[in-house]
């Protein structure tokens, strides 16, 4: 027999934090950079509406090439992560039992609770010219002199794949876990080969996990900053770096805002496309993750 106004007040109070949070920290700030991205400086401290920031992006090759390169490499990294993670997830979900299974999963999780920067530091110590791998190669006589493994695309891809693995393995393992052994057995029983069973039964069943993992890895990769900058050096050329440069180094906020909008658009577009191609929905995908 609660009075109606009291109920409304309770609801209002419960909703207040969410409204403040989403309004002040998410919606309005995005409106702000959207507006900012369409403003051009016409005189010192005077701005006017214009498409100049977006035109600048398309006319300056460094910008759009970095953009395209970031998109392409992110897709490549996602695909590589998926291929590398699948056998691991399959093993954890279908083969390993009891304690071994729990331990394998825990071991997978541990490195990822450690800061991204610590992991990147590790790769730098391994890969650089004066680093561990180069040192071992020289000491064992496999190379004549020091080899630089750092500051190239390979190093960037390696670092990004490493950073994405966990976020691929967990949703994959979850999806594979729910596959009933009897279904796989029926697949073999009906005369399927190992490959057919994998292709026709296991992979379709794991599809929601594959999509979820791929989307998360893609989002993390395309938005990454430290790994490409630190492992790629001058050759890193990642789009987030351009945003940072415009905002912090050059203090050209409208240009940086336009880049931010473009990055947001790109990542949303590719996620949307991925969902469309595989026929999954965002809600179920996020649940899987």
């Amino acid at each position: 027999m609660t009075a109606k106004p009291a109920q409304r007040l309770t609801l209002f109070l419960l909703l207040a934090p969410a409204v403040l949070w989403l309004g002040l920290l998410i919606v309005l700030p995005h409106v702000e950079i959207l507006v900012l991205s369409f403003s051009e400086r016409v005189a010192p401290r005077v701005y006017a509406f214009g498409l100049g920031n977006y035109l600048e992006f398309f006319t300056e090759p460094l910008y759009w090439r970095t953009f395209a390169r970031t998109a392409f490499m992110s897709i490549l990294v996602t695909a590589l992560t998926l291929v590398l993670a699948f056998p691991i997830a399959l093993y954890i979900a279908r083969v390993a039992q009891g304690r071994l299974k729990a331990m394998l999963l825990l071991l997978c999780l541990l490195p990822f609770w450690v800061s991204e920067l610590v992991r990147t530091l590790g790769w730098m110590i391994l890969l650089r010219e004066t680093g561990v791998i180069s040192y071992v190669l020289l000491a064992t006589g496999l190379t004549e002199q020091r080899v630089e493994f750092l500051y190239n695309d390979g190093a960037v891809i390696l670092g990004l794949v490493y950073g994405g693995l966990l976020f691929m393995i967990v949703p994959l393992a979850n999806a594979l876990e729910s596959l009933e052994p009897a279904i796989v057995e029926a697949g073999y029983d009906l005369g399927g080969s190992r490959w057919t069973v994998l292709r026709r039964i296991v992979i379709p069943h794991a599809m929601p996990g594959i999509v979820a993992g791929s989307i998360i890895v893609f989002m993390l990769t395309i938005g990454n900053f430290a790994t490409p900058v630190l492992l790629g050096g001058k050759n890193g050329l990642w789009f987030t770096e351009q945003i940072y440069a415009q905002f912090i180094t050059r203090f050209n906020w409208p240009q940086g805002a336009a880049f931010g909008m473009l990055l947001l658009l790109l990542s949303s577009a590719i996620v949307w496309l991925g969902l469309r191609l595989t026929g999954q929905s965002l809600g179920t995908t996020l649940k899987q993750a």
Binding site: L11, L14, L15, P17, A18, W21, L22, L24, I26, L28, P29, H30, V31, E32, I33, L36, P87, I88, L104, L107, L109, P111, W113, V114, S115, E116, L117, V118, R119, T120, L121, G122, W123, I125, L126, T130, G131, V132, Y135, Y162, R194, I222, G223, F225, A226, V229, L230, T240, I243, Y244, F247, I248, W253, G256, A257, G260, L263, L264, S268, L286
Partner: protein
């Protein structure tokens, strides 16, 4: 058949080696008596933790004010973030699981949104918006509003913007499992609404509250992308580490990384224990 499963096992072994190699290297070179974190091995030392700088030229982590300040700053950000995330996340979870109102699905979707925004974009948008607010308010109030300018308070808000989503999801998942008849039973046995909340609902939620708090603490501690856009003169740990790594750091950075790993390992095991108790 056997060859395939052998190859599979070898692959898994190689994978775990790949997974731990960077961390192992970081840990090992924290104890190398050399000015650079690279081979060759020059002997075991604790200088990079406690050294005064007399031997190696640079002081160890536990005496160097740069590192100590960074760690302090990280805590000054992480603790408010964790507390706010748990408090507001609980309220949000209530909205998601208990409240009935029009537009609830929309609110639920909006709450997930921060997860699909790149951290850098989140950072610049909050930076730009709060700078505009600061400009407007300062003109109007004729006073300085430093907390709206890049600095630790803004970092707290920036991190909270997406960590709150995760805290909300963790707490809502637990609340969903709650059997409402427990609340009715307590009420039926004569408890007041406040008492029901205190003695039944919150104790049931407590593993999730602790879990959400720890996850928020960890995520705040290691967040880099959003933080980078919002820091002022006081740098949290990841920002200092990033600066040192670009310059070519001394093994002090390995030492600080090792401390971080131990801290994370500690929190992770607490987390694992609470989630086991939950089951």
């Amino acid at each position: 058949m056997n060859r395939l499963s052998l190859a599979w096992k070898l692959y898994i072994a190689a994978f775990y080696l790949f997974l731990f190699a960077p961390l192992l290297v970081v840990a090992i070179f924290a104890f190398n008596a050399s000015p650079f974190p690279s081979p060759p091995w020059r002997g075991f030392t604790l200088e990079w933790f406690t050294g005064s700088g007399a031997v190696t030229g640079k002081p160890g982590v536990l005496v160097d004010p740069i590192w100590l300040d960074s760690i302090g700053n990280s805590f000054r950000v992480a603790i408010p973030v964790a507390l706010l995330a748990v408090l507001l996340g609980t309220v949000n979870a209530w909205v998601l699981e208990r409240a009935e109102f029009r537009g609830k699905t929309f609110v639920a979707m909006m709450m997930l949104w921060p997860l699909v925004i790149p951290g850098v974009v989140l950072g610049i948008s909050i930076l730009a918006f709060f700078s505009r607010m600061a400009n407007g308010l300062e003109d109007w109030l004729q006073t300085d509003l430093d907390f709206l300018r890049p600095g630790l308070p803004l970092v707290v808000l920036g991190q909270l913007s997406f960590i709150l989503t995760i805290a909300t999801l963790i707490i809502a998942a637990r609340l969903r499992k709650f059997d409402r008849s427990l609340e009715e039973a307590a009420f039926d046995l004569g408890a007041s609404r406040a008492r029901v909340l205190r003695t039944v609902t919150l104790p049931f939620l407590s593993p999730a509250l602790i879990g959400a708090g720890l996850v928020a603490l960890l995520m705040s501690f290691e967040n880099f992308n959003t933080t980078l856009m919002l820091v002022g003169s006081e740098s949290p740990l990841p920002i200092t580490m990033y600066g040192q790594m670009r310059e070519g750091a001394s093994p002090a950075i390995n030492a600080v990384s090792l401390l971080l790993m131990l801290g994370v390992g500690g929190i992770a095991s607490v987390f694992a224990l609470t989630s086991k108790a939950e089951r």
